[in-house]
């Protein structure tokens, strides 16, 4: 792995990221010509509708895609390194289950007080969902952090997190079981994930949270590299394993909780993208892997969002289905190709 090669890869990734961002602004249920688009960017547009579509609908959505994609991918990388488990992702600690419980409680409660319509009619609208999800995620996060301060090893934390996630998920199932079909549906729609519901005022809160989390993740690259060797090996070269672990869990909870609260639980990206970045860069070194994971996460999310609009009518596919249906084969292909190319004989 030469630094020249990784320089090229980062240049290409940056190029794709810019193209995907423009593509996400350009494509959508309302077809825009490139001229309309460039007019809006240059401020020469006299069409208020186009102006509105770009600035108030598509730009916030594209920014959300970048924030959610890179944030969740980073969390996946952090969890995979901390637990040294390739299947770990941002939701292993049960944070999405906590958010689901918050939303489920809100939706069900509002249905008891006079029908599903209340959810929409809540004084805050989408904010109600956000606050409920945030509260749920925060509750789980506090619990997981309390556990990680007390428990000495990561595997126990992983198991306890998963158990807590299962228990929370079961409560959500119970709530669904006793709720009426309409309420269940409006909850299910939330679990499909939706980045278009995030508007500019939401972004004012989401953006600083995600940027702070990403910044912290970038600072952690040195201890992350050491943790790759295992906790004991990390310790003997001078890593304060417990403190690093708590910081990693804190960052993951913050990022996952914030993103999930605004967009719903977006699966797949967090688990798959770190593998994609490793396969492309052929390195486990977080100094390059972390920025590559951030960029790949943003790219995948933007492309998935473009694909979600492909039906071209005013139907938009749920983002969660797109990430898995279109993303999974790509990641499988990249990893298979990479293994074959690099290790001809492996036994």
């Amino acid at each position: 792995m030469t630094s020249k090669r990784s320089g090229w890869i980062f240049a290409v990734l940056a190029g794709i990221l810019i193209l995907a961002f423009i593509g996400d602004l350009l494509f959508g249920s309302v077809r825009l010509s490139f001229k309309d688009f460039s007019d809006v960017l240059l401020g020469k547009s006299d069409n208020q509708n186009v102006d509105y579509i770009i600035w108030s609908l598509r730009l916030p959505k594209a920014i959300t895609a970048i924030l959610a994609g890179s944030g969740l991918a980073l969390c996946g990388l952090l969890m995979q390194t901390l637990f040294r488990n390739p299947l770990a992702g941002p939701f292993v600690l049960g944070i999405s289950s906590g958010a689901s419980l918050g939303v489920a409680l809100l939706v069900m409660a509002s249905s008891w007080f006079g029908g599903n319509a209340l959810v929409q009619a809540l004084p805050f609208g989408h904010w109600g969902m956000v606050i409920a999800a945030m509260a749920g995620a925060l509750a789980v996060m506090l619990f997981v952090i309390l556990v990680s301060v007390r428990v000495a090893d990561s595997v126990s934390i992983l198991i306890i997190g998963m158990m807590f996630g299962s228990a929370t998920g079961a409560i959500v199932s119970l709530l669904q079981y006793f709720a009426d079909p309409d309420t269940v549906k409006s909850f299910l729609v939330w679990t499909f994930g939706d980045i278009s519901a995030v508007t500019a005022p939401h972004l004012k809160l989401l953006t600083p949270l995600v940027i702070a989390g990403i910044f912290a993740g970038l600072i952690l690259r040195k201890p992350l590299n050491a943790l790759l060797l295992g906790e004991n090996h990390a310790r003997v070269i001078g890593v304060n394993v417990k403190r690093s672990r708590i910081v990693i869990i804190l960052i993951t909870s913050l990022l996952t909780g914030a993103i999930t609260a605004f967009t719903g639980p977006i699966a797949f990206v967090g688990v798959a993208v770190p593998h994609l970045a490793r396969a492309i860069l052929r390195t486990s070194d977080h100094r390059r892997l972390t920025p590559a994971t951030l960029m790949c996460g943003a790219i995948i999310m933007l492309i998935c969002d473009i694909l979600a609009q492909l039906p071209a009518s005013n139907q938009v596919l749920p983002i969660n289905t797109v990430t898995a249906i279109f993303g999974a084969p790509v990641v499988i292909w990249v990893i298979l190709r990479n293994r074959r190319g690099r290790t001809p004989v492996e036994s």
């Binding site: 792995m1 040294r84 600072i219 690259r221 040195k222 590299n225 050491a226 790759l228 060797l229 295992g230 004991n232 090996h233 310790r235 003997v236 070269i237 001078g238 890593v239 304060n240 394993v241 490793r278 052929r282 390195t283 486990s284 070194d285 100094r287 290790t343």
Partner: protein, 275 residues
């Protein structure tokens, strides 16, 4: 790091008790009243039957677990299990825990030994790179820099980890069973390497092993840790002269096993007298 030390002492333990502390239960003490010393450039072999507490002793000396009582000092400074950063500059440890990372080169892994000295990103400066190259030469892996660690043989992996300990630039290196899982020629090569490194660099080396024969030929001093917590120490020849080995390893439950151990040491002693 060869600052002059009074009486050349690298490690000293004072009335050390090792074992495990439990909350709400009595501690499990494996050995107590240990007064151990390691001098500059010494190679010490730690031997003992399974379950006698060899790993516990090494882990305690290395500050990886707290002492039950007493103290451990390296270069005059007390080792505390909650001060990993300071400890990492005083002693380096080669562990048996398997490292299973893909896409990690030998050079990258060895450079991790510079962790206590590098900047926030862990970037190795030219001084660090020189040290890494020197260490790779010392363990005779200079042509392996860009090989992937998980594609090396067990013996090569062990030498890589030793290089990582060397670049950590500590007066003391502790190795937990460095010859486990290795074939005979690799076991001999690791042991000779430890001897050479101690002689050439003046570093002190403490290792545990089940290879009695190799330890006897390599180490300046042996520590024999018996079940029940008694630790016998001395030069290999002194310990061979008495019944120390028999007492330490005759742990079998039936007489036949015990007799076999006695026979083994009788032949070992005969051989070393003939030499």
């Amino acid at each position: 790091m060869s600052q002059p030390q009074p009486n050349n002492m690298v490690l000293e333990s004072h009335d050390l008790a090792i074992g495990y502390l439990y909350s709400g239960r009595l501690p499990l003490v494996l050995a107590r009243h240990l007064h151990l010393t390691i001098e500059r450039g010494q190679v010490i072999g730690l031997l003992g039957p399974n379950g006698s507490g060899k790993s516990t002793l090494l882990r305690t000396l290395a500050g990886l677990q707290p002492t039950i009582s007493g103290s451990v000092k390296v270069m005059g400074q007390t080792i505390r299990s909650n001060q990993v950063r300071q400890t990492a500059r005083m002693l380096s440890v080669v562990l048996t825990d398997r490292i299973d990372v893909r896409n990690l080169t030998v050079f990258q892994l060895v450079s991790m030994g510079r962790y206590p000295y590098t900047d926030w990103l862990g970037r190795a400066g030219s001084n660090d790179n020189d040290r890494i190259r020197t260490a790779l030469e010392q363990v005779r892996l200079q042509s392996y820099s860009n090989r992937f660690f998980n594609e090396l043989s067990d013996g090569e992996q062990q030498r890589t980890l030793l290089a990582k300990a060397l670049v950590q630039d500590t007066p003391l290196i502790i190795l937990d069973e460095p010859t486990a899982h290795l074939d005979l020629s690799n076991r001999i090569s690791i042991m000779r390497l430890l001897r050479t490194l101690a002689d050439e660099t003046g570093k002190s080396i403490l290792f545990s092993t089940h290879d009695l024969d190799l330890a006897i030929h390599t180490a300046d001093h042996l520590w024999l840790l018996q079940k029940g917590g008694v630790l016998l120490q001395g030069k290999p020849a002194e310990l061979m002269a008495g019944e120390a080995f028999e007492d330490t390893f005759r742990t079998g439950t039936n007489e036949a096993d015990q007799n076999m151990v006695s026979d083994y040491f009788r032949s070992l002693k005969k051989r070393s007298v003939e030499e």
